[in-house]
Symmetry: C2
Subunit: 407 residues, 2 copies
């Protein structure tokens, strides 16, 4: 096997969220799992991502796209970092949202999805052999991007299971990672998959450790608008931290259901954003020009729209958490933000990967296996509960029944 094949083995995407339709067999080793009992009928639910037919794209988005198309060449061919007017507009909106000015619109770049922002940002800070601290569990691509860049990963645990007022970041492990020479720390806040929010104290400690050890921090705040129970949220960039060492990533794909346009934004450190644009010039050129216009409608949703969307998600969350807690031996922390549940399942007679296959095949329910978010999470699955409420409840009912069968 040559170098490139070895490199790509680490990037296996077969079990990544959204790729389940490509899996035609049950079983992680080619073996067929013996099915127990008959199929459980019900509306199929794909918990691997949100359902934009249940939660429609935010008002004004498609109209903004159509207006962008109508404005022609100016919108089709923007600077690689994105159209100036849109960047200026976003800079002021995101400064207001995060509670700290954005120095100039050049310190903000539009990308094809927040995934695009994450890749560009990480590749603009670390290269082969550099050390990067990555939270476990966290978004699957953090680890895989580091692997693609041939960086050295130092895992930092998130003790998310206990229902406390902290996310549960292991600050000792974080400091050890920084001490041992980490150049970069990447984390999502709210955490994907656990749905927990880092406390003001945790953010403050991250900031002061980053300052002390000269570490750059990339924070993925994709879900920072979808907070439950009036929970507070501390923006890292507004903390006491060297502004050249922080990049914040956001995007309208999740809460606003605009994933079909692939839009993301990164803002903060001007030196890093400058490199990101250079890299974007050879990776995808720019976020699709017409699509960029959709961002003009972002953070301008009608009054009450966001509050309603949050309330609807919170109601689904509460129903699903209650169902999952009826499972003997399972545990789940109530998420404080976002639309993910990350329960730990009881011991089953099959692997979690096989169980996910059975669940898809016998009950029409798709979940993402925990190991996508870190190698320790063999007993967990992730559910994106941005779904039709009733369908989601019934799907978790079927999951509960199958867990009984496969104990």
């Amino acid at each position: 096997m040559d170098l490139i094949e070895t490199k790509f083995l680490k990037l296996a995407a077969d079990n990544a969220p959204g790729q389940e339709t490509r899996i035609n067999r049950i079983g992680d080793s080619g073996s067929v799992v013996a099915l127990k009992g008959g199929e459980l009928s019900g509306v199929p639910v794909d918990f691997s991502h949100g359902d934009v037919d249940a939660f429609l794209p935010s008002p004004g988005a498609q109209e903004a796209f159509v207006a962008g198309y109508a404005s022609g060449g100016r919108q089709a061919y923007t600077e690689y970092r994105g159209g100036r007017q849109t960047r200026q507009d976003l800079a002021s909106k995101l400064a207001a949202f995060t509670g700290k000015p954005i120095e100039n619109d050049d310190s903000l770049i539009l990308t094809p999805g927040s995934q695009g922002a994450l890749f560009l940002a990480m590749a603009s800070v670390i290269t082969a052999g550099d050390k990067v601290a990555i939270v476990q569990p966290d978004y699957f691509a953090n680890r895989k991007i580091a692997q693609f860049l041939e960086a050295e990963i130092t895992p930092v645990r998130l003790h998310y299971a206990a229902q406390t007022d902290r996310a549960g970041l292991d600050l000792d492990e974080l400091e050890s990672a920084f001490k041992s020479g980490a150049k970069l720390f990447v984390f999502s806040n709210p955490n994907n998959p656990a749905g927990v929010i880092y406390s003001e104290d945790e953010i403050g400690t991250i900031a002061s450790l980053a300052n002390r050890y000269g570490v750059t921090v990339i924070v993925d705040q994709l879900y920072s608008r979808l907070l439950y129970d009036g929970k507070g949220y501390t923006h890292l960039r507004a903390a006491e931290i060297d502004p050249d060492k922080v990049v914040t990533i956001m995007g309208p794909s999740k809460t606003e259901s605009l994933s079909g346009y692939r839009l993301g934004v990164a803002f903060g450190s001007l030196p890093v954003i400058d490199r990101m644009e250079k890299l974007q010039a050879i990776v995808s050129l720019r976020a699709a020009g017409y699509n960029q216009a959709v961002l003009n409608a972002w953070f301008s949703e009608p009054a009450g729209w966001m509050a309603q969307r949050i309330a609807q998600h919170q109601a689904i969350r509460d129903d699903l958490v209650a169902k999952l807690r009826t499972i003997n031996g399972a545990s789940v922390r109530t998420p404080e933000a976002g639309s993910y549940l990350f329960p730990t399942l009881p011991t089953l007679s099959v692997s979690t990967l096989d169980f996910a296959g059975v669940l898809r095949k016998e009950a029409g329910v798709t979940v993402t296996i925990g190991t996508e978010f870190g190698p320790r999470h063999k007993d967990s699955v992730r559910l994106n509960f941005s779904q039709n409420h009733q369908a989601a409840v019934h799907a978790v009912d079927r999951m509960v029944q199958l867990i009984q069968r496969y104990r």
Copy 2:
């Protein structure tokens, strides 16, 4: 300067096509060039890219987008390699176009622009230290992607200047590069920037050399639908070549003026396409879902539409070539395809970069400097003549006048 800064120095995008609006000064070394004579008035023309207000997006594209949006979640969340129906449809259209079956729709991936396809394809074949053969002159990103991947570049000259029935690839240099261990050969056909088509004999030789030395070939055929004077075109993938060693890249951004949607497609080698999907999963996830629907209208343009578009471009080409040939000491080969002119300018009193700055400032004419396409091309500039016909003619008039001033 640390490693990452050194790495990004090579990726400077300041003079890349489309980035000229970011340049506020004249002069490549911070010095201000003394301006000679007054401003030359006229409609500003940006030859760095095509003008989609002059050549409108192909019929049916926006309607296909709107239909894609209306179909909701299915279109928003496709497999990372793109929606299955669109891939199947494209596989049969592109097989017909290139004259060879596409084995299955999995050997085709949709990407954010053909730029996205190029990055993913190159990164799926070579890694740090690998050798890659790159044509000079050729598309600017070929070289920069290789540099980002820390591959070792072996240049292969294209002797494009003579008006022959060959593109002019130096086949001896190509074989030397292959002999010395190149793992990959990347080239555009028709060539960007020179607008020349590789002859059947040249393509056959590339194929047989690739077979002999086990080299993978990525061919960027972005302009292969825009051929003048009934010129023939040989598709590399239809030649005698190991199908696992060829990736063909196309997209509707140029001839069809659909750049604002950022869509590309790569097809061929299944092992390489599989890796490209794994990498896309961490680089941009997928081509924007709604945008993918635009590809349903591609290769389905109304009868006569393409012939008319070609005739219009050919008329502009002929007028501009005639104007450029009036310049004493300049030379230009008549392009056989695509919408680029790549003239060599006479010796001027300022550098080509400074002249490009003067031209933009004094005459409202934007061109791309030749060194973006290879270090040897210091005396050339590239013009994308997919522009309003009259405006383009007048802009080249102004360029001719300024060349006289700066001799």
